[in-house]
Structure formats: C-alpha cells, structure tokens
Symmetry: C2
Subunit: 308 residues, 2 copies
C-alpha cells in the first residue's frame, strides 16, 4: 500500500502543537521569563517525532483515532521531556551550542539561569501532564513507570550494577566519552540510552494508553528500539555529510569533538546498511498487526531516508 507519510506527519504535528499550546503556560502568565523560555524551545521547529510515534502507536492498538486527544497530550509530555533535555544539553557547561534547529538556543536568548529552570519546569510539566491524562489510573501509573525509567540515569542492565538504558545516563556517558576514541560498544550503548530510550518509550506509552496486551507492548518496544536506533544512525550520518544550513544546527560538530557516533566507528556505508537492517527488524516486530501497522512502518521508513 502506498502511504501518504507527509499527511501523517502534518496531522501529527498539528495534533501535538495544539496539545502543547493548551498545556504550556501562557507567555503572559507570570513569571513571564520562564514561560517564554519554555515556549521558545518547545516551538522552535521540532519534528515532533516522539509525539507522532506515540499517537500512531495508540491508533494502531485502538484500531481507530478515538484516543487522539489523550495520545496527543501524552505525546506533548514526551516532547516536553525531549525539549528539556535539549535545553540542558545546549548549556555552556554541557555542549555549549548557540544554535538549534536554526534558532538561537534557550540560554542565548533568556540567560543561563532561566534556561536551567525552564528545562526543569518542562520536565515537571511533562509529569504533571501524564498525571492529568483522562484515562484509567492504572494506565497512568504504567505510563509513569515506563517514562520515568526511560529518562533516568541507566546505561544498560547488562553492566555490573547497571540499570536499564535511560536518557540522562546516555548524556553522562556522552560527556565522559568526549575526547576519547569511541568504540563500537560505547557508541551503541550511548545511542540506546541517550536518544533510543525516549523514542522507544514513546511507542510503548502510546500502546499503554490504548490498553495494549503484554505481547503487543513487547512488539511495540522492539519496533521503537530498532527504529529509534536507525533514526539516530541516520542523524549521525547527516551530521557528517551535510552542512549547517541544511541541518539548521552546527554541522560536523560530532566529528570535531570526537563524539561517539556510528559512522565514526563503522564508516558511512556500513552505517546506512545497519540502519536499513534495523528498519527491517522493526517492521518484522509489527507483522501481527497487518495493515494497521502501515503508518508506523511508513514513519520508520521516512525517518531513515530523510535528508535533514
């Protein structure tokens, strides 16, 4: 089936942006500075990948779009978390990035103090949004557990004393690894934690919202994990092969700082091959959903064939 992925993306962005508009405090609500900072970074042209995955997972499990309103609010919470992590990551003490998606970063516009607190507040608002979802309490608690674990300090349960991979854990490993020659194991571990865990949980959360069975959740988790890793590999390749204007952010920065990236370790050809293989695995996990899986599959294909 030919699937109109552009229409799907557009509808997902609209749903998400409406939810964010409702949920974020007004720029005129006191204290203004932080509310404006939160909105500046949240409405800076993100792809809304995580919300769209959440919405499409909920639609696939429900078999219709009756849960769109709640799924969009949950997706907005995931986008708030993503935005908080970007604001803090861009700070002078961390990546020291002045430009993100073609816009000046939060601390450049609002100062460091407000940027730190705006990131904090977005994390808080994400959990507040999850708590306020109009779904059964059991589902809220299940989502709360999965999301909080996915953005925690874990780097991999296979390590001695290790916790399941989590977003902050990935950021810490990324910082610690800078300036060292990256190994294949380290790169994969950072990717799974830093960006993979939140993408994976976006798919899981959409499924939990729609009351998916344990087996369906496991399949969604596999899909999210594989597609998320493929997305990150393609991101790394684009950083190496495109210029700043095309990317809307400082290109080649990963290479310059010896960041642990996939193509730096495996080369560009192998990276593209790996991404393709991961997408095939992601597709396989959704086989039992038949035609209902078409939107999620189209999304995964789009994410790994994009050019910016």
């Amino acid at each position: 089936m030919q699937f109109d992925v552009q229409a799907l993306l557009k509808s997902g962005v609209t749903l998400t942006d409406h939810a964010l508009e409702r949920l974020l405090p007004s720029p005129d609500a006191p204290p203004h500075s932080i509310h404006r900072a939160m909105r500046h970074s949240t409405f800076a042209g993100g792809k809304r990948l995580r919300p769209i995955l959440c919405i499409e997972a909920a639609r696939m499990v429900a078999g219709n779009n009756s849960l769109d309103h709640a799924a969009a609010e949950l997706g907005a919470a995931l986008e708030m978390i993503h935005t908080y992590s970007l604001i803090h990551d861009d700070l002078p003490a961390l990546d020291n990035d002045d430009l993100r998606r073609g816009q000046p970063t939060c601390h450049v516009v609002f100062g460091e103090a407000t940027a730190i607190l705006a990131g904090d507040a977005l994390q808080t608002l994400a959990f507040q949004t999850i708590g306020d979802l109009q779904i059964p309490a059991d589902a809220i608690v299940a989502i709360l557990r999965e999301v909080s674990s996915a953005i925690s300090t874990g780097v991999g349960a296979d390590l001695p004393g290790g916790l399941p991979p989590g977003m902050i854990g990935g950021q810490v490993m990324d910082i610690e690894g800078e300036g060292q020659k990256p190994t294949a194991e380290l790169v994969e571990r950072i990717h799974r934690a830093k960006t993979g865990a939140l993408i994976k949980v976006s798919v899981i959360a959409g499924g939990l919202l729609a009351g998916a069975s344990e087996d369906s959740i496991a399949r969604l988790a596999t899909f999210g994990e594989k597609a998320g890793l493929a997305f990150q590999i393609v991101d790394d390749v684009l950083d190496m092969t495109q210029d700043s204007a095309q990317l809307g952010k400082t290109a080649g920065k990963d290479t310059a700082s010896d960041k642990a990236t996939w193509p730096a370790v495996f080369g560009i050809d192998q990276s593209i091959h790996d991404a393709d293989e991961l997408v095939a695995d992601a597709f396989a996990a959704l086989a039992p959903f038949g035609e209902d899986a078409a939107p999620l599959k189209a999304l995964a294909t789009y994410l790994t064939t994009r050019t910016n």
Copy 2:
C-alpha cells in the same frame, strides 16, 4: 502532653535515609559520576523536614505507623525533589553557592555539567519513586498531580493568568527580584512558592497516601501552608542573626544580595511574632485530630524555635 520531638526527628531521619539508600542508584553503578553526585547532595546532612512531615501526616491519618514503609519512600521522593532544587539553585548561573550544610556544593565537587544532570536525574527519580509506590493506583495519581503542581512554575492563582504557587515559580521570582527593594507582597509570594509549596504538599501527600478524606486533606493543607511559611520566616531570621559556622552555609548572603526575606521587610521582632501566629493557625487546623496531631504540632513548634 510532653512530646519527645528529638526521638520523632531521629526516627524520621532514619526511615528516610534507609529509603533513600534503597532508592538511589549505588555509587558503583555506571555511570559513576552522576550517581555519586546525586548521593553527595542527598546525603549532605539535610534535616529531612519534608519526609518527616509526610511520614507524620500519614501516621496521623492512619492512626498508626503501618504505612511507614511507603510513607518513607514517598518522603524520599520529596527529599530528592528538594535536593534537585538545591543543586540547581547553587549553580554559578543561579545563586553561585560553594557551601551548603557545611559541605562543598555539587558543582564544586563534580563540575557543572554533572551537577546539572544530577539535579535532573533526582527530579526524574522522584517521579519514578512515586510511580513505584505499593499503594492503589488512584492514590499514586492523586499524589502525582499534587506534587507536580507544587513544584511547577506557578506563583499564585490570584495574579492575572497566574497558576497555583510552585517551587520553580518561586525560584524565578527570587532571581528576578534580586537587587530590587523587596516588598511585603513579593516576599510572601516568593516564600509561598519557593519553599512553601513543597512543604505544604509533603503534608498533603502523606495524607493522600493514607487515604485521608477531602476535609482532612484541606486541614493538612492549611497546616502545611502555615507551618511552612513559619519555617521559612525563621530561616530568614537565622540567616540574618547567625554566622556561617552556626548555619553550615554562607550567612548574611540574603542581605548582601538584597534577597527578598521576611525580616528585611518586617524587621526581626515582627518576623518572630508572625511565625508564632502562623504556628497557632497551623495548630488550629489540626484540632479535629485531637491527640493524634501531637507529633505534627511538636514538629511545627520545633521548626520555629530552632537555632540553626
């Protein structure tokens, strides 16, 4: 009744510290730096005021200590939030404090990047801990809503477009107000948001954990609000009248930076009078609980008569 408040404090600290020890990732779990930073600040000699209020509120409503285990874990979550806010507040871009409770602050020991992420991770772990409480899902959701609202960007629902007072809102107002002559209204607003909201919700959360009625929650909220404000007023007075060695932090800093404090606006005598009156109001709210309220009352008295 003569109440042994020292024994109560000691038992509360022990319960809380055991819960924190269980819940915080091991210092040997990778990535080490952030886990050590989280523990450094969490175990830096805090009074555990918020957990103790939570535990005692749960005991009062339950009429016994059967909920101590869950209440201590919830209290530990509140302490993680308190610690996260202190770590970020101490950063060079905010208050730039090198010393807290007689110990070097998080960024002094671990660097700014790790301190920022350790604060982030403590907020996340707090919500993860709330999600993992072994209590009915309805109670978890009620606690999640109250706690996330209490640490949000609100500064007061009485302002045009204003949200209920929240911890981050208070921090922003505090920063924005620095260098200006504080007014009575601003000082009260900042106190209610910056420290008051988290103290108040600690009492509310303990009540929700124990399944308190709506009327009991309203009474606990009044108690928490009044006692919390009294506590902060006494804190301001101590900052003005004691030296750094007695306080374990840089004394007189509030005055030096024209911080909005109670004694700066009302004078020391009036401040002490106000604190006493607030404690009387706090006591009155708990009248229907009779003798069961003795521990919470003893705590409020202790907090406003302490000397450090």
